[in-house]
């Protein structure tokens, strides 16, 4: 079987490009994969299935959506919320009407009016302020002949949005841990957080909670790695909380090698997110591979992590207090950190191994390409037998047969894989 894999790939700098580089070698041992180059308008020849990787970044994924429009196929939905992508493909290209139409399609007249507010700069961009309310995934879902998702959260959101096609779940793969020595960063314990520093990564809450922790545990250190988002005044916040260089170690964007070394140095990893676009966190997966205990937001994919590997902090009025309690627990209990780390390592190996992920992908691709024909053939066998005894398509018995046949797949009996 041969498929076309539309995705960003290295050297493009994106999480999904890294993802493709990780998965493709194992996948190619199972199926024949052609990777069209970025911007390609002509589909590869003789493919059985077109697979489109869609994320929320317009720079990386706009050309893939355009390819999907030309030729519908299987969509790997890395983020459920695609508002930023759609905004980039409309407003970003001077197509305000396109944005209005997209918002109206999803949010009706209210959506269109809000979109006018965005275009007139009367209200903040909705992809920042209300992304969960206006996901703008409708067009992609409408073009998808099937979906691959990395979480139950995205599956449920897709179903909630009315998607009725087949959905396959494939977990995010874990990177093999490189043989780097941990970076020499002090702290007892060292608490690390990786990624952009901004409000949606709950940086204000984390800084506040860490400041409280440090009053009890003066040896604790917070390692902040990643670019500070525009408009987020980190220095002022640190100053206000009395967090000086002894308590907080700051690094900006780091390369992959440095990233692993810094992650390996940490005793606890914090990975907070709200609102969520439905994404799976590559840094959280790396932390699992390293056998590190996690503190995460109780939201989206993060909620699906087993309790044995992650302490989950609800995004509510008590968020900072709960986060503080979680940090205090892990700071004071090395035995708990060790047990959670062991469980994390086991989870990464068992659920997120690259070969397992490739096998699940191959299964989804093969079923997406040929499953419908198989279902039709089996149904034809059964239908012939049923017709021989006078059971037509409208008979109650036919519905029961369809129900019993639901094990065959999403096209039979009305049940999806997801």
């Amino acid at each position: 079987m041969k498929l076309a894999w539309y995705s960003p790939t290295p050297p493009e700098r994106s999480g999904i490009a890294d993802y493709a580089a990780l998965v493709l070698p194992s996948l190619r041992r199972l199926v024949d994969v052609d990777v069209p180059r970025r911007g390609s308008r002509r589909p590869p020849r003789n493919v059985d299935l077109n697979v489109y990787h869609i994320g929320n970044n317009p720079d990386s994924h706009a050309w893939i959506v355009e390819a999907l429009r030309r030729r519908p196929g299987l969509v790997v939905l890395h983020d459920f919320v695609l508002h930023h992508l759609v905004a980039g493909m409309t407003i970003g290209r001077g197509d305000g009407h396109g944005y209005l139409d997209a918002m109206e399609r999803e949010g009706g007249v209210v959506g269109r009016l809000l979109a006018h507010g965005v275009l007139d700069k009367r209200i903040p961009p909705l992809w920042e302020s209300r992304p969960e309310d206006f996901h703008l995934a409708g067009e992609v879902l409408g073009l998808a002949t099937g979906l691959v998702v990395h979480s139950r959260y995205v599956r449920d959101r897709a179903r909630g949005a009315g998607y009725e096609g087949p959905i396959w779940g494939v977990p995010h793969p874990a990177w093999p841990v490189p043989a780097h020595a941990p970076a020499p960063v002090g702290g007892e314990p060292l608490i690390g957080t990786f990624g952009n520093v901004n409000a949606s990564k709950r940086a204000p809450q984390l800084l506040e909670a860490f400041a409280r922790l440090r009053r009890e545990q003066p040896g604790a250190t917070l390692l902040l790695v990643g670019a500070t988002s525009p408009g987020f005044d980190l220095d002022r916040r640190l100053q206000r909380l009395g967090l000086d260089a002894a308590g907080v170690v700051r690094e900006g964007y780091v390369d992959e090698s440095r990233l692993w070394a810094l992650m390996a140095a940490c005793d606890v990893h914090v990975n907070l997110r709200s609102p969520t676009m439905g994404e799976t966190s590559g840094t959280a997966i790396r932390a699992l591979s390293l056998g590190k205990p996690l503190v995460v937001s109780d939201a989206g994919w993060f909620s699906e992590l087993p309790d044995t590997v992650a302490l989950k902090v609800p995004v509510d009025g008590e968020e900072t207090a709960t986060l503080t309690a979680a940090l205090e627990l892990l700071a004071g209990r090395p035995d708990v950190r060790a047990a959670m780390g062991d469980a994390a390592n086991d989870l990464a190996r068992r659920e997120h191994g690259v070969d397992r992920v490739a096998e699940l992908y191959a299964s989804a691709f093969e079923q997406a390409a040929g499953g419908r024909a198989v279902e039709d053939a089996v149904l034809a066998d059964i239908a012939r037998a049923a017709a021989d005894v006078g059971i037509g398509p409208d008979a109650p018995e036919a519905r029961e047969i369809a129900r019993q046949l639901s094990f065959l797949g999403p096209g039979v009996g009305g049940h999806g894989r997801g």
Binding site: M1, S363, E366, Q367, A369, G370, G371, V374, F407, G409
Partner: protein, 341 residues
């Protein structure tokens, strides 16, 4: 207890699964249970027929029969475990191997086109669903359990079953090596024939019949083994017990076998088993230099092992007795106690 033992039936064929399930029904009845065999003919080709046939099992209603409740079903091999029942036990003989480890080999069924690929995946999905429904899951060997766990993530308890009932005995070690299994390529009886050809004076008796018979007889003829290798075809129970009782060793080296009753039959006759490192199920009980000889799947290694046991009857007896100690522990009492627990 009313128990339905479920087994697909391949008309006009009779092998290990049939022997095992027939015996299970008889042994359940002997212990006071009301047991019966439920079979549906099974044809697995062409194309998606394998799924249509599985669906037949899915439609069966074995919750009650003639107004009387069926309290348990014991399903055994694909696709009988697709049956629905609230108390479904599965004693797995094997999955549909063409969808798994045989895929892409000459024994495989599914080609590279998308429809064949999808059919194979749907068989795997069905396995995950149907086997996942089992209230208890057993496998006849570590090999079968291992394949199951690798393919579905489901963990089965290993529960071997006794071999067919024969008047087992040990009448000595007369020097010949015995092969008693169906004559098909997967049993690799050609390894034995080629091995005998390499060992002057070594003799073998081949019991059984099957599609590989002509080819095997051709090998024996081409190697000039007439007089040293005897094909006995199908034999009755008394004759089989007699051959087991008199041989020096039993050859049983199929490729990646599910379970294999041969070693148990050999051990109950006090005879060591020659098997191969890639034989699968037999390796649960055939341990090198403890209950037999485990060799490379090559004629020279097989021939040398058989000649060694012929020339060292005391060692053959010691290995065979060690095997007997294992085999006598595998009883229907123990199997049924665990199955019904």
């Amino acid at each position: 207890m009313r128990i339905a033992v479920c087994r697909p039936q391949v008309p006009f064929a009779h092998g290990g699964a049939e022997i095992m399930t027939d015996a299970l029904v008889a042994e359940l009845r002997a212990r006071g249970h009301e047991a019966d065999l439920v079979t549906v003919p099974f044809k697995w080709y062409p194309g998606s027929t394998v799924l249509s046939q599985a669906f037949l099992w899915r439609l069966l209603d074995l919750s009650e029969v003639d107004g009387r409740r069926v309290e348990m079903v014991i399903a055994t091999k694909f696709p009988s475990y697709a049956v629905r029942h609230e108390e479904k036990r599965v004693w797995l003989i094997h999955q549909f191997r063409q969808a798994y480890e045989l895929d892409g080999t000459e024994l495989g069924q599914f080609g590279p086109d998308p429809v064949d690929r999808a059919t194979r995946r749907k068989v795997q999905d069905l396995d995950r669903l149907a086997l996942g429904e089992a209230t208890r899951l057993f496998a006849t060997s570590a090999n079968v359990a291992g394949r199951l766990e690798r393919s579905t993530g489901l963990v089965a308890e290993v529960l071997p079953h006794p071999p067919q009932a024969l008047p087992y005995r040990c009448d000595g070690y007369e020097g010949f090596v015995l092969s008693a299994s169906r004559l098909d390529r997967a049993k690799r009886i050609d390894l034995l024939l080629e091995g005998v050809a390499l060992q002057p004076g070594l003799e073998a008796v081949i019991v059984g019949d099957g599609p590989d018979r002509d080819r095997l007889q051709g090998i024996a003829r081409d190697r000039g083994l007439n007089g040293r290798v005897r094909f006995e075809g199908r034999v009755d129970e008394e004759r089989l017990a007699d051959l087991y009782g008199r041989c020096s060793a039993v050859f049983y080296a199929p490729i990646d076998e599910d379970f294999g009753m041969g070693p148990y039959e050999a051990f109950l006759s006090g005879k060591p088993v020659i098997t191969a490192v890639d034989s699968g199920g037999p390796l649960d009980v055939v341990h090198d230099r403890r209950t037999g000889l485990v060799v490379a799947a090559e004629p020279a290694a097989v021939g040398a092992a058989a000649a060694h046991l012929r020339d060292n009857p005391d060692e053959a007896a010691r290995l065979g007795e060690a095997g007997r100690a294992i085999a006598v522990e595998v009883t229907w009492d123990r199997c049924i106690d665990r199955l019904l627990l």
